[in-house]
Symmetry: D2
Amino acid sequence: MNAQKIYKAKIINDPIYGFIKIPSRFIYELIEHPVVQRLRRIKQLGLTYYVYPGATHTRFQHALGAVYLMDQAIHNLRLKKHDITDEEAEAVLAAILLHDVGHGPFSHALEESIIPQINHEDLSALLMQKLNTEYKGKLELALSIFNNRYSKKFLHQLVSSQLDMDRLDYLRRDSFFTGVTEGVIGSDRIIKMLDVVNDQLVIEAKGIYSIEKFLVARRLMYWQVYFHKTVIAAEFLLMKLLQRAKELIMNGISLYASPPLDFFLKNKISKSDMDARKDLIIENFVSLDDDDLMVSAKVWSKHNDVVLSLLSKNLINRILPKIRIQKKPFEKKVISQIRKNVIREYAWPEEYIHYIVYTEVISNKAYSQFDDKISILYNNGEIEDIAEASDIFNLNELYKTAKKYFLCYPKNCGV
Amino acid sequence: MNAQKIYKAKIINDPIYGFIKIPSRFIYELIEHPVVQRLRRIKQLGLTYYVYPGATHTRFQHALGAVYLMDQAIHNLRLKKHDITDEEAEAVLAAILLHDVGHGPFSHALEESIIPQINHEDLSALLMQKLNTEYKGKLELALSIFNNRYSKKFLHQLVSSQLDMDRLDYLRRDSFFTGVTEGVIGSDRIIKMLDVVNDQLVIEAKGIYSIEKFLVARRLMYWQVYFHKTVIAAEFLLMKLLQRAKELIMNGISLYASPPLDFFLKNKISKSDMDARKDLIIENFVSLDDDDLMVSAKVWSKHNDVVLSLLSKNLINRILPKIRIQKKPFEKKVISQIRKNVIREYAWPEEYIHYIVYTEVISNKAYSQFDDKISILYNNGEIEDIAEASDIFNLNELYKTAKKYFLCYPKNCGV
Amino acid sequence: MNAQKIYKAKIINDPIYGFIKIPSRFIYELIEHPVVQRLRRIKQLGLTYYVYPGATHTRFQHALGAVYLMDQAIHNLRLKKHDITDEEAEAVLAAILLHDVGHGPFSHALEESIIPQINHEDLSALLMQKLNTEYKGKLELALSIFNNRYSKKFLHQLVSSQLDMDRLDYLRRDSFFTGVTEGVIGSDRIIKMLDVVNDQLVIEAKGIYSIEKFLVARRLMYWQVYFHKTVIAAEFLLMKLLQRAKELIMNGISLYASPPLDFFLKNKISKSDMDARKDLIIENFVSLDDDDLMVSAKVWSKHNDVVLSLLSKNLINRILPKIRIQKKPFEKKVISQIRKNVIREYAWPEEYIHYIVYTEVISNKAYSQFDDKISILYNNGEIEDIAEASDIFNLNELYKTAKKYFLCYPKNCGV
Amino acid sequence: MNAQKIYKAKIINDPIYGFIKIPSRFIYELIEHPVVQRLRRIKQLGLTYYVYPGATHTRFQHALGAVYLMDQAIHNLRLKKHDITDEEAEAVLAAILLHDVGHGPFSHALEESIIPQINHEDLSALLMQKLNTEYKGKLELALSIFNNRYSKKFLHQLVSSQLDMDRLDYLRRDSFFTGVTEGVIGSDRIIKMLDVVNDQLVIEAKGIYSIEKFLVARRLMYWQVYFHKTVIAAEFLLMKLLQRAKELIMNGISLYASPPLDFFLKNKISKSDMDARKDLIIENFVSLDDDDLMVSAKVWSKHNDVVLSLLSKNLINRILPKIRIQKKPFEKKVISQIRKNVIREYAWPEEYIHYIVYTEVISNKAYSQFDDKISILYNNGEIEDIAEASDIFNLNELYKTAKKYFLCYPKNCGV
């Protein structure tokens, strides 16, 4: 191909933004790379489609959407006379495109059960590093922005902060595909209100009500979608299933699994492995997606291990446990009574009872949503945190970690 | 016409809800009545279209929309086994249809300047009374619900309370036509969450995030639309113009005005007149609409009174004063300095300076938005005010009256 | 004001396109001119809001929308390497902004009854001429494009042709505000498909299905909105009312009318007057809007002329005649029988019967919708008319003038 | 569970219709059945998401959507006084819910390559039969409607005809998720216009423009989505891949495949097998979904068969062949020249050339879209086919089968 050829912008249809124009040839090449294409096989919201059937959208769509918003944000900041060079623009676009490549399938369940020592941020950085080598250093600046080592800090904030393009896209996209229309946020307006002061992203004062609405919409999405109790129940089911599969394999029981899943079930991967066997781990990781888990579970549903087959059947056919939520831990005697009911009702082996009656805790902190600040810029040049600027919010509450306790058990066995 | 004839439901297209089905023949007859048809000539948001050009929607559309939502609410409450008879249903539909018939054109400006002693709620009740006579008592129950004299209090709350169908429609409609999409509220979901406990409207606990979002969206609409400073400036301009017109007439100056406007300019109407000359006042009131004011202002723009003609020209051609807002009263010396500037710059007669340089105060209390409570119903049957139920809101703040001071003056005369 | 000051683009909220950016200071100045501001008082669709209550949108909104689309079109054509200078861009934007300034209130009714010899295109040109003088020739190029005297013909086509920005905006806007969602057209996509070959606007071949859909959507809007029989009935009612008012005045009967309407009722204006008394005519014309007619009709509803007062009351209170449509003229004996019924039923004076029982003909030709061509551009560079390019359309039919005959009469007097 | 318990309607969020109410407990039980749940793992549009990334919606969502529309249609026809018993209503709802359960993954590719003798309609009927046995005959009436053996023919037409609920949902849904907004059809309005005359579905005359628009929107969806050339290219790629896999297995080459796919690759299934080994075939069929193919292709991408591994890599990483389309067959010498280029350029074995350079024909007839009639009902009771009723359509053309020839080959090898 002739690298000199003028780039004729590729246009991709998106149900949310209409036409997404891919800003440069290099960004388009990255999109075509197998590591990004793989995101087509990873649903953005894991098993959430068991509650909201429309939520089958993928991390690929989200990555494109975030690129689109980043392009808008760059355009807008340049209009406000902030200097962003063409190199910086391409780097920050590449960074947002690639920010999620380290996500595995059904991230939370998977991270908890089979690769507990590696998180997706590390993997994203690792994969970007690999791409950087492949593209002969063309991703150096993107990496530096991604890792917050670049001098212009506000570029990193566009990729990762309370008001980054990641969040603006996923809240809107998740709201769109779940059909929870109340979660819709005004990404257009928020981007128009962005400014930079002292190398820090801020929001113009007249955008304060939009930010209030953004915060409330986000909260609504948390409790109505991300922490919806039936979604949580489905994710726990998958987690328990993977734990059992891993346990069986550790005990030498033969078990079908598609090759990349097989690799992760058979190997305990520690932080130090990540260096020693990096290439092998990455090769398997980028081969692993949602499909491996579902196909394996279908096969397992006929396995002769009673735990594995029941959990698999339940996962495949969407037979979800009953789930209860409360703000404090469940009492031991309640759990114990339910366990007795299940053992009696289902003639269930007592040693496996923790696979189908269990309690867990979840906190919004895990999603690092409520951590840092949003700064408001007044006409007189002063800057104030939204917590101070808004008179209606009790932001101590808003920023506080909410912990919720869950108790799961088969239907008809409650107390 | 044959009253026995089966009613074939009339369908009206609405840009927001799609098809609105008029629920009964009687409601359709009321819609056809001149008193309701007049609402076609009264814009819902007065001069707001000077800032948001799309906001030319009328009180008529809003009345139909509120009927539609009421129909949904009745349907939903009946599904939850609350007893609403057919008579009650028709009465509460009639009440919401007619709740605004007492509105004059550009309500706030008009009420302040030419009929200061009569408010639109009284006029609505008066007109409903008149219709009740005309329809031989068929509106008895509607009136009793409207005036909160009926035994089932929740029916009144559907017409007038924090979550009445009036508010649900106007917030959504105003958001739609202004294009301030962030103000959109989920009326569908809120109506689905409505329930009745102890004869009181409540919201199911799982609707709490929708209510939070509703409160924030409403707040956003207040500051972004209803109290938008340019809208306020336009309304003050109109108010000053009407004051001047009234003053000239009181001083015996001859002045064109369309007949109904002429009536209100020439007569000071006190509360006691409302009884003595009720029929005459009503006859003129129902003839008065937005058009009378605009047509008269066009004529006045050529009048030889310098104040009247300037204010008229400014109104017609949308030449709006500069407006400043702050939370405390403006200092006398600031006002005085600006007045001096204007007198010098425009060679403006000093005795008329208060017509073009003035300060006013406005409070959201005036719109009685933040007064009463929204009750949340928990699964265990307990009820709690949203102020307690929501952990993020600082509702003392939310319910507090906000006062804002405005200072208006011609362009280029500031200090 | 300092003309050197950098222009900070004004943003206007639009319910359809979101944010409309006003492209230049001069365009913004034109928008602020009384001649354009007046369009705020002229509804885009006249009395259509009697059938579709949402259709209260104004010619002002439409003018802004057309500017927005023109800006998109210019941007797109420049991307395709067509040369459009900054002067041409501003001129074509000014031309589309001003293309409708010559519209009077309720255009069709008014043009038929009180200023039959002047059409709105002539008036638009006249007013643009006047503005050109006022702005010292700055509108020279805009005028030349508007009148199709400029060398680059495609610029004129953007203002006036089968696919001009006028049409793209009004179809979408009328569809939006009436709630006839099926009329929605994909203006975005059509603009993206625009190209220029041999100084002529064409559509890229892959846009052919969008054009088919545009043609069908337009047809749907015609029959479902523009020629909706109840809309036609309302417009005829207004036309008859104005005829009667004019007749009374010609007969020396004293009649209230707001000053600009009074002028047009009292003066028969011929083409030659247009030169002789141009300034006076224009002064009155730009003072005339929807409000004058409605306010006058309200007053007339109490006049002692039985025809004038009945027609006025009917107009104000939306009491519309029964209307029948057919493809051929109505038989004389049908009309005559209905007239007899009315005279008997309502004791209606025979000499005035033609005011309430009448037949008229209307043709879509009048709206000059189906006249010229849409050219399709193939990848190989060939150009073909859509009539040839589309295999499904019977375009002889599509382009053919459709004539429809209407018969109007009071309710309950049919045969 | 207590079957007597009152059914509290389940509500499911849908991004298109908002809230979908599941009309009865039995319908809800069917939805929970593994045979329906499996549709969650089959994308509605196969590989179309390779062109329109949003199109990851599943046949499950579509089935729910069709149930929703059917519920609307029943409601509407009952309002028009057509007799539909509760049993019939539930049966027709069940029929539409289950109408697609016989679909395999990537239907067209699969049907062409590995189960060429069985079509999805037969499989749907077979599976419904099986469910009927499981539910002890409760699906008898649904089956009879589905197979068009029931006396009221219009019920079958609601399930399968030019205007069935299947089509109304999928056109709207596919348009929504692809983001091809121009394909949107007015399902609401079309359903409102439905009527029954002589046991036949008809459309009221005033709906004629909606039908025209529906036909044009459908046509647009065909050429812009269903027959989009890149979509076709992806489907051919998958088809060739499956052919190769089957061939290798037939030749005794060992090949990984997930169990259900393994079954279909190893067995040639003829019509007669369908009886003899029905249970086994069904068991494997209902275990097979999109995931099996993608997981297997990932494994095959490392196989040592050069054809299998190349096609697999291309499929997984979205490296699609170049594709050309024309209305007549491609010339032999063109194909032969391209094949020579490929053999030379890629050192590709000549005997496998037909796997990467091939020509195919596709016809819209295959999708049986344009076959039967749409009847228009006039006010006078007459009925006419849309082909006659619409004056603009050249319906001979509209109904005609369009055949298109495709030629696929690797990039940079064209002539």
